[in-house]
């Protein structure tokens, strides 16, 4: 049974210089106990999807499509009902743990806040629960009255995780949870997340720009480019045998330790991500694509089958419609 089902999601920000389409038609499906990784460059719309799931956008933002979270049609909920769904339906582990906590209130207080806001328990009970949650994420319960500035970056991120689990949500949205941490702490936090996810059978949407992180955590990966999903499939296979040239570039940017060949072919991707207000025609990736052909600028790409549960939006995949006359 799917916890989250997103259909043709379009998010358009209203800016002074005109509308900015940040997400341009995305379908997502997350089953119970499944981790979906969402990766892409800065500005590709991955975090926008994360906050769209709880409708956390500025008032004027246009959100179209369908979001069914835990049986609730999020986009048509009335404000009161929406507040009730927030954090109980899906919670968010924010990217800047350092700033996502109120500096003038204790951490236990802030973990318990989620519980008391939803009136799931009284103040005393919520505090006991907060202490349990802190223990669960590997912080001693006696630190419950510490203030955020008394914790290290990794500890703060643990508190954020405890917060996200406070209301037993159906889905946890992890929005770059390890970005600001050093590699050692990052590994610890990832391990903790993975353990908790397995133990509690959580469904999770893991947003990051770091593909190597996703391989460890996610069951499936979706790669985003310019507000669209360009490739989707099982994590290991997408990372090691990418179909879409963009995914190839992303995966190629990670050195394989012990792979002597890699030293001879350091790879990256030239150019900049497109301006969301001036997205290239056809396949949005064609100006940066190393294997682009003449149809690319005019071809409306969509996710075509690319073998064993995989899909990619590229003319070169097997499921793409035949283009006999243009294929080189």
């Amino acid at each position: 049974m799917s916890v989250l089902s997103v259909r043709d999601l379009r998010v358009t920000y209203r800016a002074k210089g005109g509308d900015v389409p940040a997400v341009r038609g995305v379908d997502l499906e997350i089953d119970r106990g499944e981790v979906l990784g969402l990766a892409g460059e800065s500005g590709c719309g991955k975090s926008t999807i994360g906050s769209a799931l709880l409708r956390l956008h500025p008032a004027k933002t246009k959100i179209e499509g369908g979001i069914i979270l835990d049986g609730n049609d999020v986009l048509s909920l009335r404000p009161g009902r929406l507040r009730a769904v927030r954090w109980t339906g899906a919670s968010i582990i924010f990217q800047g743990a350092l700033h996502a906590m109120n500096p003038v209130r204790g951490i236990g207080d802030q973990v318990a806040e989620a519980i008391t806001v939803h009136k799931l328990a009284g103040e005393r009970e919520a505090r006991v629960r907060a202490a349990e949650l802190l223990e669960q994420v590997g912080l001693p319960a006696r630190r419950i009255d510490d203030y955020p500035h008394e914790l290290s970056g990794g500890q703060k991120q643990r508190v954020m995780i405890a917060m996200a689990l406070a209301c037993n949500p159906s889905l946890v949205i992890a929005d770059e949870p390890t970005t600001a941490l050093d590699v050692m702490v990052q590994a610890q936090v990832l391990k903790l997340l993975k353990t908790l996810q397995r133990e509690l059978g959580l469904a999770m949407l893991f947003i990051t720009h770091d593909l190597s992180v996703l391989v460890e955590v996610a069951d499936r990966i979706a790669i985003m480019y310019a507000g669209l999903i360009v490739e989707e499939g099982p994590a290991e296979r997408v990372f090691h045998f990418p179909d879409h040239p963009y995914t190839k570039a992303l995966a190629g940017a990670f050195p394989e330790i012990g792979d002597s060949q890699f030293r001879r072919r350091p790879s990256g991707l030239g150019g900049d991500p497109p301006d969301p207000q001036q997205i290239p025609s056809g396949c949005p990736f064609h100006p940066r694509c190393p294997v682009a052909i003449d149809v690319c600028p005019s071809l409306e790409v969509e996710l075509w089958a690319a073998g064993e549960g995989r899909r990619a939006a590229c003319v070169h995949v097997s499921g793409a419609p035949a283009l006999s006359e243009t294929r080189p």
Partner: protein, 318 residues
């Protein structure tokens, strides 16, 4: 700089005892923490000479105001039962002479501290409540609410306060409560503007967004997240506003808009002025209340600056 003293030992112990549920009472721990923070604050404040002078002065006036009914009898303040002769210069019986009814000026000055301080604190409370309310509402909700409240704030900021106060005081009548009301109404705008600016920055912080994602209502966000973070701005303003409110009370009284039945320093000067103390050379009637107003205002200002220095680490370093 201040060398950091040894941290007081953890009031709550138990490294080895870390049960999943801490049975300790949250209120008690909060209280311990507050007390510890206060001791630390006091340690720094004590080193500030200006602040200490201001504080001692202030304490003197507050004690005087509280003890006034014990020192001065009611009869001594009533014109009918005044103990002395009118316009008597300072003597052993009346160290600061007497006024036109034969009341001791010293008694009047002592008793006057009550009204002056009361007006100062009450008007400040009002200024802060209205200012913080309008500032937070405008800054937090934005849009049309903000435009309207901002226009109102600007209107109160640019209008010269004395004419407005005169009009208000003459419409509402001369009473102690009206004096407080008039001062409050004419002085909240500055606070509102500062609080609004701070609210604008606080509401964009990620923890406010986190709390919104948590499912918190606007009321919860404002009272639990915005207000505690704007509090320093409100506090920094408070102490100086008290001094300004006392001055404002004096001004109103001097213009003949104070409550004639109550005894405040401003009223004292007004009465002396009215009775021609200036031309008659009755200096003992005019100078003492004036000096008191100066000293109280000075004391509040000194405390205010000292607080600012202690609470703002950037200034403290210098």
């Amino acid at each position: 700089m201040i060398e950091t003293p040894h941290q007081p030992p953890e009031a709550v112990v138990g490294t080895e005892v870390a049960p999943p549920s801490p049975p300790r009472d949250p209120r008690k721990i909060r209280w311990i923490r507050r007390r510890r923070a206060l001791t630390g604050f006091w340690r720094v404040y004590r080193r500030n000479r200006m602040g200490m002078v201001g504080l001692v002065l202030l304490a003197g006036f507050v004690i005087m105001a509280l003890a006034a009914p014990l020192i001065v009898s009611d009869e001594a303040l009533k014109p009918a039962t005044a103990p002395g002769v009118a316009f008597e210069p300072p003597t052993a019986d009346f160290p600061l002479g007497t006024d036109d009814f034969g009341r001791s000026v010293l008694d009047l000055v002592i008793f006057g501290s009550r009204i002056s301080l009361l007006v100062g604190f009450a008007a400040t409370l009002m200024t802060m409540t209205v200012g913080a309310g309008v500032g937070i509402a405008g800054g937090y909700y934005g849009g049309r609410t903000d435009t309207a409240l901002n226009a109102l704030t600007n209107w109160f900021l640019v209008i010269p306060w004395i004419p407005l106060a005169i009009v208000l005081a003459s419409i509402l009548g001369r009473s102690l409560f009206n004096t407080i009301l008039v001062i409050g109404v004419t002085s909240w705008a500055g606070t509102a503007r500062l609080v609004r600016a701070d609210t604008l920055s606080v509401k964009e912080r990620p923890y406010v967004e986190r709390a919104r994602a948590l499912g918190a209502s606007n009321w919860h966000l404002v009272t639990r997240h915005v207000l505690p973070n704007v509090m320093p701005v409100i506090f920094a303003n408070t102490v100086l506003t008290v001094a300004l409110s006392i001055l404002a009370e004096t001004t109103l009284a001097l213009l003949g808009l104070g409550d004639p039945l109550s005894v405040s320093w401003g009223i004292l000067i007004f009465d002396a002025f009215d009775a021609g103390a200036l031309s008659a050379g009755l200096w003992w009637w005019l100078i003492p209340p004036g000096v008191c107003i100066c000293l109280v205002t000075l004391a509040f200002t000194m405390c205010g600056y000292a607080l600012d220095e202690v609470l703002n680490p950037r200034i403290r370093e210098r």
